[in-house]
């Protein structure tokens, strides 16, 4: 007979590694599409990222004197590296991937105390570190169509705006809804195929790994201000469609911002968090120095998560919102 255990004596058929595996499964279509677009260099970048994450995490966990096997088996390090890899420019040099992966799993996760303890999303923190430290390597894009060096849609309109060319003109020939949906556009390895990412996201919602709150709120957070300003001045402000189908918005909304560790734990908190991520993304894209803002926005709202969780709590049964017991009403 086993030692005495507390109830419940039954458990839902779920483990942490199953959660991580499901997210990875959801990433497969968009990742394979990226491989197909960019070929072996993309595959290598992805493999190097994951290998660097596993190796560095094993080393750090060993230093800490913790079980290497249990820490690696949960799959969270692999998932972090995967997310980082698909948000890198497909032609980035191999050492960018190594640096980013090692930074993500060691500095951004293990230093905080390992899985579940980090304040910031490790993949996005690593991406931002790389972007600030190696701006050239991190903003050199090639077109998936002809393999020529080129600028992203968001980067292009930003440059053109500074030259005084209005957005209606600069977008012509640079943005099409169809290309944005299928991913036939310039961008990171796995962030471009909106349809495939949406497919993965819906799969995650269906499997109850994530809920709809953060993705929907984040997309609305971008689309609502974009619509408002675009309808006022279409020469300076891009349409909601351009915003939704460029940069890493869909990837961010379904796979990055939904990281449970760094997002709020109530439905209302998640709506606030998601809307905040979207709004910040739109603000950075519109008025900031960088053409893309998803990573920055997510990190900023990660910092706000403890505050959101402090103020947004569910109402407890038998109590009002302030926690005071409901009045007694006999009969």
């Amino acid at each position: 007979m086993n030692p005495i255990a507390h109830s419940p004596h039954a458990h839902a058929p779920i483990t942490l590694s199953k959660v991580m595996m499901t997210v990875m499964m959801a990433l497969i279509p968009a990742t394979l599409y990226g491989f197909w677009l960019y070929g072996w260099s993309a595959v290598m970048l992805w493999m190097i990222s994951i290998f660097a994450a596993i190796a560095s995490e094993a080393l750090v966990v060993r230093w800490q004197g913790r079980g290497v096997k249990t820490a690696l088996l949960d799959g969270s390090g692999v998932l972090t590296a995967w997310l980082l890899a698909i948000s890198l420019p497909p032609t980035a040099p191999w050492w960018i991937a190594v640096l980013g992966s090692v930074f993500a799993v060691t500095i951004c996760k293990q230093v905080f105390g390992g899985l579940g303890q980090n304040v910031f999303n490790p993949a996005m923190a690593a991406r931002v570190m790389l972007l600030i430290s190696f701006p050239l390597e991190m903003t050199t894009w090639v077109s998936p169509v002809d393999g020529m060096a080129s600028a992203s849609v968001l980067g292009h309109v930003k440059t053109e705006l500074t030259r005084g060319i209005s957005m209606d003109t600069s977008l012509v020939g640079h943005f099409s809804m169809l290309d944005g949906l299928v991913g036939n556009r310039i961008g990171s390895m796995g962030e471009t195929a909106a349809i495939l990412l949406l497919l993965g996201g819906v799969f995650l919602i269906f499997r109850r790994i994530i809920t709809w709150h953060i993705p929907v709120a984040m997309m609305l957070g971008v689309a609502v201000p974009a619509l408002l300003f675009h309808s006022i001045d279409s020469t300076h402000y891009a349409s909601p469609l351009v915003h939704l189908l460029s940069g890493g918005l869909i990837l961010g909304a379904f796979f990055i911002a939904t990281d449970p560790v760094t997002s709020p734990n109530t439905a209302m908190g998640q709506l606030i968090f998601g809307a905040g991520c979207g709004l910040m993304t739109w603000i950075i894209r519109t008025w900031g120095g960088y053409p893309e803002g998803v990573a920055f926005a997510v990190l900023m709202l990660n910092a706000g998560t403890p505050i959101i969780d402090h103020y947004v709590k569910p109402r407890i049964y038998g109590r009002d919102r302030k926690g005071v017991a409901l009045p007694v009403k006999k009969g």
Partner: protein, 489 residues
Amino acid sequence: MNLFDLRGGIHPEGRKNLSAAHPICALPVPKRLFIPLQQHIGAPAQPVVAVGQNVLKGQLLATAQGALSSAIHAPTSGVITGLGDCTAPHPSGLAVPSITLDSDGESRWIALIATADPFQLTPEEISQRVAAAGIVGLGGATFPSALKLNLSHGVQTLIMNGGECEPYLTCDDRIMQERAAQIMQGIQLIAHAVAAQEVLVGIEDNKPEAIAAMQAAAKNTSVKVTAMPSMYPMGSEKQIIQVLTGKEIPAGGRPADIGVLVHNVATAFAVQQAIVEGKPLISRIVTVSGGAIKVPCNLEVLVGTPMQELIDFAGGYVQPAARLVLGGPMMGQQISNPAVPVVKGTSGVLALTTAEIGQAEPAPCIRCSSCVRACPVGLLPLEMAAHIRTANLSGAVNLGLKDCIACGSCSYVCPAHIPLVHFFNYAKGDLTAQERTKLKQESTKKLAEERSERIARIERARAEAAAKRKAAREAKERAAAAKLTTEAV
């Protein structure tokens, strides 16, 4: 009928099909019964029999001690062979005071007083008879039923709980199917005793036969039988009230605070037996189930029967049992000794396999908030556990630790297999211990203060008496001196 939403909740695998089709079958009277004196919430009962005494079936063995207690009767006829300890039906396996009864195999009843027209009885008489019959809540909480009736007089709504939301258990399902008429009479007697204005019977929709049987029995009565969605913990008192009436019990309060009384359907059967036939509560229906049991079944078992007898009757094990559980898998308690007796609150005896338990080593919390979504009370289990981990009990209380109903939904869904509800029960125990220590310290302090005050008072009285004596002496002396002076003059 219009139903209200339950917050949170989970859908564990029911596994009721293992035993649901097996009609209730009486377990043969065992040779020796171990009858604990405490089978209810409150004070243990006081034995009124002696070793060597012959008793009849239904004879009083132990009387209730105070209002929050319950009487215990002989489950069968035989001879008392011991007043001692037996292993408690509790994970601790500690010894509890109990009466050992050796059956004579004849099952001779005491003279039973049947009541032809029970509805002529006054509410007081009903509650007195319920108390005398030793009836406690059979849903598992084992609160003395008579006390509940006394505290709930004049409620608006009587809710009869036929939820049976725990997986595996089918004892309430079977009793509703097979004894619906008696249950309905019991329900009406309870309604009569508390003068309830409406009576609702809530049954989860995974028990269509039970619903049909109860609806048929409720014909021509004002009792409303309602199908509720199957969801755990639907059969919890707070939750069934919420779903059927839309009302919430104020925090720290009782159902009577909002004009509601909840009883289990099996308790209604026991009430009917006690009032109409005069039979005390000496047996109950127990579901014997689990993947390790050869023939899962529903048995009518005498209180005090060792658990092993039930397992043997069910054909023993087909697979090694990784865990023996008393009650359901969600809130039941693991037992290490199969010799422990069935008591009034035992709804199930489960022998579970490793695969059914699905245990895994706890991993770090990834804040996925599955527990927040599952909690039917609206708590933040992950935050509460984090506070308890660092021994910050007040932090956990501020998050609603005292509102936790210990249903285990959070533990069930946790992908990291963190034993959340174990944390909460541990913290509640610690909190109770702290509060008890505080009370003790306060009463010690009060006693000490009273003592020093008493000493001071005595001192004062003494001093006053001494002063009085002194004054009297001085007056006397003065008088004597004055007398001397006058005499001298």
